[in-house]
Symmetry: C2
Subunit: 217 residues, 2 copies
DNA sequence: AGAATTCTTGACTAAATGGTCAAATTGGAG
DNA sequence: CTCCAATTTGACCATTTAGTCAAGAATTCT
């Protein structure tokens, strides 16, 4: 929400240096790992500094406050978060579009679980930071895509389904694999790390969710 | 994990007094609200004491450490958590059993969202406390119920589905309404508080998840 | 090279936090 | 009512934590 952008009218803030780019990246990466486990309140600047292999004062040289780091890492995460839903295309085949969306969300859960957990923690905490985002951009996007799904249903290209709840179901089932990874591992054991597991998961999720909306004879 | 139960063989620990019963209950209720928002690390004893309308030393008279409160509230939550799945009956009608299970989970999400969030926070944090529980009782229970579902599938009474992923999908979709309540409210607005919303949600979730497993043709 | 700027850190501070303790108050059994 | 155990609390302590600061080290620019 701040830091780094030239806010003052006069040409303050010199351009970002090489070292700044490197270190900010290192910090944000470390912060993601830390915040995604214990949330904002449960994480400490020292933990982030340690993970970034950097002294605390040095870290605070790049981000003045704990809040600034948190906002920065959340912000960059949110962009990725929206992308797959934004890509849902009204002119495509309904089942194919949903398949793509679910597959993409599952891929993100598998490849960037920390991002999903960061977001989950923020929501659980009452969304103190992203609330405005949820009520504007996300709400608008979901409303738009829900309308598309509603049209598909009324055209008989999908079984009758509440579009909002369908979107929630997709979020829930896909993010579950990132957010509740520990629980899934406790139940399935090392099987989770076998090469075929991701495909197997995709197969199952697609079959359950799409099976429920695929138009019936 | 401790406190209150008479562990020693000799008759230590007098019976719980009336005031103890009342205050422990008040504390656990307050602790649930606090821990469910910010997790163990992000919550403070002062917050819990304030919510319990009790001085901190008084609170610590009943639970010696923050950890003890946390374990106690988690433990009582876990019992409720298992019940609905335990009730799944191999001799019942598959679709009807799943419907009951989903409905029951949705009811818990709506009526005890804090319990669901407490659990979500614990898992996100890496399940430091409930890991043993997950790896023993939960794993055993899920394995048992998965076998039942597998049988239903092989008898042709359910469409072919991976039983584990089906259970995960049910957990995900039902708990989502508690854990991500803030997000859902941001998108749906006051609609969430309308009397019919719960039924509408149940209708949608059942249709999506059961639609995907109901035997075809 | 030499000056200016950027980067890094040890030492520190104030506030928050988990937990203790002795003394005062209250509740309950006889 | 009386006495003993249970309950309550103000004051306090040690540690953790967010954030500061001045001074030293490294980088960049000319």
């Amino acid at each position: 929400m701040d830091a780094k952008v030239d806010t003052a009218g006069d040409g303050e803030d010199r351009r970002e240096t090489r070292i700044q780019a490197i270190n900010r990246e290192i910090i944000l990466e470390a912060a993601l790992e830390v915040f995604s486990v214990n949330g904002f309140r449960g994480s400490t600047v020292d933990q982030i500094a340690a993970r970034a292999a950097m002294s605390k004062p040095n870290l605070l040289y790049y981000f003045r406050r704990k809040q600034d780091i948190y906002r920065a890492v959340l912000e960059r995460t949110l962009a990725d978060w929206l992308a797959p839903l934004e890509a849902m295309d009204a002119s495509g085949d309904p089942v194919e579009e949903l398949r793509r969306y679910i597959t993409e969300k599952l891929r993100m859960s598998a490849e960037k679980p920390a991002a999903s957990r960061l977001f989950a923690n923020e929501i659980l905490a009452g969304a103190p930071v992203v609330r405005p985002f949820l009520e504007t951009r996300l709400k608008a996007l979901v409303t738009e895509k829900a309308a598309i799904i509603r049209d598909w249903v009324s055209e008989g290209r999908l079984a009758p389904v509440d579009p909002y709840h369908l979107i929630f179901a997709i979020w829930a089932t896909t993010q579950h694999y990132a957010d509740f990874d520990v629980q899934i591992r406790a139940i399935l054991g090392s099987q989770v790390d076998r090469p075929g597991f991701r495909d197997q998961t995709a197969q199952a999720v697609l079959s359950i969710v799409l099976g429920g909306v695929r138009p019936r004879g």
